[in-house]
C-alpha cells in the first residue's frame, strides 16, 4: 500500500505542473545564475576616465596600460573634464603635469569602483613614470557618513520595490476576492481604477521614503541637497514602481506565481541598476542592459541629488525617462484591464 505522504506528494506535484509556477521555476535559476554568476566579473570594464595634459605620447603609453579596464579619453579642457565628472560622464580625471606631478580627481559616488580606480591609477602612474612622481588624489562627492553613501541606493530600491510588490498584490487581492468585478460593473473607468490605485501606491512609497530620510536627519546627519528635486524624484520613482506593480497585478492571477516572478525580477533589476555593484564590474556588452532597467535611472538620479547636490541639469534626463516609463506602464495596464476577462 502506498504511503499517504506519497499521495500528498503526487497531488502537490500535479498541481505544480498544472500551474505557471513550474515554468517560473525553470526561469528563476537561469536568471539568478546569469545575474550573480556571470554579470559580475569582479574586474572593472569600460570605466571612462579623462586625461588632461600636453604630452600625447604619454597618453598613448597610459592607454596601453589601462586598455583592458578603462576607456581613456584625452581632453585639453579642464573645465569640460570636471563637468564630465560631475555629470557622471567620467569616473576619474588625471591632470598630468609632466614629468612628475599628477592630480587624480575621482568621483566617489560609487565608492567600490572609486577605490579600485584610485589604487589602479596610482600604481600605473608610478610604474609608467618611474622616479620621483608626486600624485595628489582629490576624492569628489565622498560623503561624510556611510548612511548618506548608501541612501541613494536604498531609497530608489525601497520606493520602487514597495510600490511594485504592494501594488501588484492589491490587484491580485481584488481579483481573488472578486471585488474587481464590482469595480468593473460600476460607472468608473478603467483609467480611474488604475490611477486611484497608483496614487495610493505613490502615497505609501512617499511615506516609506520620508521615514528613511527622517531617520537620516534624526541621526544628526545634515545632508546638503535640493529638497524640491529630491521630492520630485521620489514621486516619479514611486510612479514607476507602482505602475510596474499595477501591470504585474493585472497580468498575473495568483499570488504564488506573482511572488515568484517578483522575486525573480528583483535580482536583475537591482544588479543592472548599479545600486550596490557598479555596472563597470559587468562585461561591456551587458552594461548596455542597464539602460533598460528603470531602477538604473532612479539610482543615477538619487546619487546625483544626494551625493553631488545636483541641480535640474543633472537629473532632468533621468526624471524624463522615468516619467516616460511610468506613463507606458500606466497605459499598458489600462489596456490589459480593458482586454482581459475579469468575471
Amino acid at each position: 500500500m502506498k504511503s499517504k505522504f506519497l499521495v500528498i506528494y503526487e497531488k502537490e506535484m500535479l498541481q505544480f505542473f498544472k500551474s505557471r509556477l513550474w515554468f517560473m521555476t525553470l526561469i528563476f535559476p537561469l536568471v539568478i545564475t546569469i545575474t550573480l554568476g556571470y554579470v559580475f566579473t569582479g574586474t572593472l570594464q569600460n570605466v571612462p576616465i579623462v586625461v588632461i595634459g600636453e604630452d600625447n605620447s604619454s597618453i598613448n603609453y597610459l592607454k596601453e596600460y589601462l586598455n583592458n579596464s578603462f576607456n581613456v579619453i584625452y581632453n585639453y579642457n579642464i573645465t569640460n573634464a570636471l563637468d564630465g565628472i560631475s555629470s557622471g560622464k567620467y569616473v576619474a580625471a588625471i591632470i598630468a603635469e609632466y614629468p612628475s606631478n599628477f592630480t587624480i580627481i575621482i568621483d566617489y559616488t560609487e565608492q567600490g569602483v572609486a577605490q579600485i580606480v584610485e589604487q589602479t591609477l596610482s600604481v600605473v602612474l608610478m610604474r609608467t613614470y618611474s622616479g620621483n612622481v608626486s600624485i595628489y588624489v582629490e576624492r569628489k562627492y565622498k560623503p561624510d557618513h556611510n548612511l548618506i553613501n548608501v541612501l541613494p541606493s536604498l531609497l530608489p530600491i525601497t520606493i520602487m520595490f514597495v510600490g511594485m510588490f504592494m501594488m501588484s498584490h492589491t490587484f491580485i487581492r481584488e481579483k481573488e476576492h472578486k471585488t474587481l468585478q464590482n469595480l468593473l460593473v460600476s460607472p468608473i473607468s478603467r483609467r480611474d481604477i488604475v490611477l486611484g490605485k497608483i496614487l495610493s501606491g505613490i502615497t505609501r512609497s512617499v511615506i516609506v521614503s520620508s521615514i528613511m530620510i527622517l531617520i537620516v536627519l534624526l541621526l544628526g546627519i545634515k545632508p546638503n541637497f535640493n529638497w524640491g528635486i529630491l521630492f520630485l524624484l521620489i514621486l516619479v520613482s514611486s510612479f514607476v514602481g507602482t505602475g510596474f506593480g499595477a501591470l504585474l497585478g493585472v497580468l498575473f492571477d495568483d499570488e504564488d506565481t506573482l511572488d515568484m516572478f517578483n522575486g525573480m525580477l528583483m535580482f536583475p533589476l537591482m544588479f543592472f541598476s548599479g545600486a550596490f555593484y557598479s555596472i563597470y564590474m559587468m562585461p561591456s556588452a551587458l552594461q548596455l542592459f542597464s539602460k533598460f532597467d528603470f531602477l538604473f535611472y532612479a539610482v543615477h538620479g538619487f546619487k546625483a541629488i544626494l551625493l553631488k547636490n545636483a541641480g535640474w541639469e543633472l537629473v532632468i534626463a533621468d526624471i524624463l525617462v522615468l516619467i516616460g516609463i511610468g506613463i507606458s506602464f500606466f497605459i499598458i495596464t489600462i489596456g490589459v484591464l480593458m482586454v482581459r476577462r475579469y468575471e
Binding site: H177, K178, T179, Q181, N182, L183, L184, V185, S186, P187, I188, S189, R341, Y342, E343
Partner: protein, 311 residues
Amino acid sequence: MEHILETYNISKNFGKTQAVKNVNIKIQKGIIFSLLGPNGAGKTTLINILCTLLKPSIGTAKICGFDIMHESSKVREKIGLVPQHTNLYEDLTARENLIFQGKLYGLPKNVIKDRIDALLDLVELKEKADDIVKTFSGGMKRRLLIARALINEPEILFLDEPTIGLDPQSRRRIWNYILRLKKEKVTVFLTTHYMEEADHLSDKVAIIDKGEIKIYGSPYDLKKLIDNILIIESDRTAINILKNAGYDIISNDHKIKVRIIDKKEILKILNLLMKCELEISYISFKEASLEDVFLSVVGKSASELKLRGKY
C-alpha cells in the same frame, strides 16, 4: 408596453464553446424575471454580458434604452449587480463598503448617508453597520451585497443565484427583500436553479439550456404546458366512463391516472363517478410544477420540443 431590457441575438463564444446562443428576450419594467437553467447553461455568462463585464461575440442588448456595447458607462449607472460569489471588502465595515460604493456612483455625502441608513434598515443590518464584514455570516453577507447593489437606486437589479448556499430562513428573508423591491418598481433579473424560488417570486421565467433560451413565459402559463394528474382508485368501469366523457387516461393499472388541465375538472370527475354510483377509495392530485416544466425542457433539443407541439 415598456421594456427595460431587450436583447438582440446575443451569442457568446469561448473558443469553440458557444456559451450563449442567439438570446432574444424582452423584459418589462417593474417585473421579476427569472432565468432558470442547469449549471453551465449560460446564465452567469448572460448576466455578465448584460452587466457589461463581458462583450458578446454577436448581437447586443439595450438596458433602459442604452446599448451595452456603446453606452456601457450609462448602462452601469442604471444597474445593480448581486454576484454569485460574495465580493465585499471583508476588512472594511458594512458601512464603509456602502460608502465606497456610493462614492463610485458619485453620490453626494448626505445622499449616501441617507441611503445607507435606509438600506441597512431594509436588509436588517443596522446594528451590524460598523462591524467588519469578515465577521458576518453567509446570509448577512448576501444581504449586504443586496444593499450595496441598491445604493445607486438601480432601475434593474441583477441577482445571480442570490440564495445559493443559504439556510431556508435566510433564503426567505432574501425573497422578502426581492418582493419589496418589486413594490418599489425595481425590475429584478434573477438567475437561480431553485425552482420554488423562481415560482414564488417571478412574473416571467425563461429556461436556458446549453446557451439557448428554450422556453419563456409566466410560471402559470409554463405550468399549464405540463399536465396536472388526478389519481383515483375505483372500480375498473370508471376507466370507460371517464374515456367516454372525453378524459385522457394515461395509466390504468391499479390506480387510474387522469390528465386534466384545470383544477375545476376534479369536481366534475368526482360528480361523474358518484352519479354512476362508483366507490372512490383513494384520490390525489398532482399539480404541475415549474420543476416539471424544467425537467421536460432541459436536455431536450429544439426539434424534440417542437414534436410535442407545446413550446
